[in-house]
Symmetry: C2
Subunit: 381 residues, 2 copies
């Protein structure tokens, strides 16, 4: 998104946030600072919010009024070009603290003794203490669950971005896996994978897990100099950042050269588990029941199970609530999306992993990531 391109605005999202803020019981104003929530609300992706986390961009959203966007002066041109919010304030880094500007805005709005919703899971202890000392009469309450609940049900605009990101990522993996040959290094394969994702439209790559053979047993190995051999499992867990900051997150497993009967069996057993989990993504299912079902299915199929979660929602955040854990008592609603990711570890030998993006609709689950093309174990090289 640059000054020369039209930037589409998701008006449904703006209205939904405004209504939720107006109806909130436990705060008088939101003070958002995380990339996830400020990108979501202001609809501007400021790169440095991730690269330089202390250079905050903040959104102050009073219950009875319009939001104010606070950015570092270096980011002012981008903010003015892209944000739908007209009231933008800046701070001059090192000379001024972003919290001073936030406190000024809150004083201006008569909110010095108000209840302020802050992200206690993002705001650093230092910034939180600074805000408390600037506005000692305010009451500070955590707002991350409020925001996460809002974000968990996607707008049509968001769904189109997420579906595009998921299918682009699936295509990038497919192209790369089809061209794998014995003797290539994990590193070289990972370079091609990342290039393919950028060519498919990602703004940046957000993470790359790619490992073969025995390396694949680690959860998040960095691709290295190992040369893939016939009979190796090759596993990737991979995603990018796309327009609007929306993530993809897809896992695939193939075998190099020639697959053993045991590898075929393990892959198809995991594939069957995956299918049986996908059908659960219907309105009304409790999230924790998907976790318990995943455990039961893996164990019944003779597959390993030792994971704290078997998937998660995603959007601008890579792992968004609800996480698919034993403790997630939320109930699925239409327009929620989930990455469902069963896996199977053969200790010390290899690991299998599948991950697809599933949309909850009133008509049942809709897969957004071309899963069916991976029914058969891919063998190349």
């Amino acid at each position: 998104m640059t000054t020369l391109e039209a930037t589409a605005i998701d008006q449904v999202r703006i209205d939904r946030i405004r209504n939720a803020v107006r109806g909130a019981d436990d705060f008088d104003a939101l003070v958002l600072a995380s990339p996830v929530n400020t990108w979501y609300a202001a609809q501007v992706v400021i790169q440095t919010q991730e690269a330089l986390p202390e250079r905050l961009a903040l959104l102050v959203w009073p219950r009875d009024g319009d939001p104010v966007y606070v950015v570092c002066n270096l980011e002012e041109l981008q903010a003015r070009a892209e944000a739908w919010i007209p009231d933008i304030r800046t701070y001059f880094e090192f000379k001024e603290s972003p919290m001073q500007i936030v406190a000024d805005v809150l004083r201006e709005r008569g909110l010095t003794s108000a209840r302020l919703g802050i992200e206690t899971n993002f705001l650093t202890s230092a910034y939180a203490d600074e805000l408390r000392s600037l506005l000692p009469d305010a009451i500070y309450v955590r707002c991350q669950s409020f925001m996460a609940q809002l974000r968990s049900v996607k707008t049509e605009f968001e769904l189109s971005l997420l579906a595009n990101a998921a299918s682009a990522t699936d295509r990038a993996i497919r192209r790369t896996f089809e061209s794998v040959r014995v003797g290539q290094t994990e590193r070289a394969i990972a370079v091609r994978l990342q290039t393919a994702l950028l060519e498919e439209g990602a703004d940046t790559v957000s993470f790359v897990v790619l490992a073969a053979g025995r390396n694949s047993v680690q959860t998040h190995p960095v691709p290295g100099g190992y040369r893939v051999q016939s009979g190796d499992v090759l596993r990737t867990d991979f995603g990018g950042n796309f327009t609007g900051g929306y993530h993809s997150d897809i896992a695939r497993t193939m075998v190099i050269g020639k697959a053993s009967a045991e590898q075929e069996r393990a892959y198809h057993a995991l594939w069957d588990v995956h299918q049986q989990l996908i059908v659960l993504f219907r309105p009304g299912t409790r999230v924790c029941d998907i976790y318990e079902r995943a455990r039961a299915l893996n164990l019944a199929a003779g597959l390993s199970f030792n994971r704290p979660h078997v998937g998660h929602s995603l959007g601008i955040e890579l792992h968004e609530p609800p996480m698919i854990t034993p403790y997630s008592t939320e109930t699925l609603e239409p327009n929620m999306v989930f990455a469902i990711e069963p896996n199977h570890l053969v200790p010390g030998v290899e690991k299998y992993h599948l991950e697809d993006l599933v949309l909850v609709t009133t008509d049942g689950p809709r897969i957004l990531s071309n899963a069916t093309a991976w029914r058969d174990l891919l063998v190349r090289g």
Copy 2:
């Protein structure tokens, strides 16, 4: 770094941290949680510490004893394969909090009423409050300046990683800029730039600023669909993550097709400022004096000046202290490294930016990033 590759350990770094911790006056144990400081101290790059910031990996380092490394159970195999620290504890995510394990370790070491050094500029308000409630008798002090000061003087091991990262990034930009042609989109050029960096050895791309013509006036624009035209300035500010988590950060400016006399003049004026700043990187120079000199030189040359900083140290952190601001009273020492980055904005028209990596040595500044190849304005297309 994977299980199948030898992982070199920087013993000088370990000894330096150990000595500094032993000699510390204001804490009895460090509790580190940021990617920067845990990667630095444990010498393990756990990808998910950045992708999933709530999944903490922590290092507890008592003044009188050996450190303990606390990781999510999903990352245990990597931690055991790569860390030089034998005492590794794990937590099972969602069921246990990492802070519970940290509190257990501190109890075990008899440090429940000790002074604990925490990173108040990283640890979230929620995690800090949890630790305080688990160990209410401890005294909490900020340790980020202690760690930043340690990290600011690089070991030979670190310098070789940083020099490699800088020259790889310079080569990637050179290759990409040489092949730019009129009519290519910023986006397509940025894809080639990122691919080139991965081919030159980066593990991942950490950020990509690339913009042409009028788009270049923003500080951190995302490359978009604009097609570069003859007479456009093309500007990049770009870096990757390399082995050990070490960053690169290089900025370059070229002109597409044909440069005007005014563009030639502006580029060479900025180049001259750059050279005059680089010679200041000698032991004994005060950091803030470099900032003031940059302001004076830019203004004397008829160039704009409106920046909160003109550079920064870097290492595992992209912007490490000392930042080159008016408020940085530190004095340069041998084996400090800095990205020095003068720029010049023609409002509403275009922006020029140069950034090189300079090592402070007793013999004077040593440029680690091939700056001399950019003395003449590059014109291609």
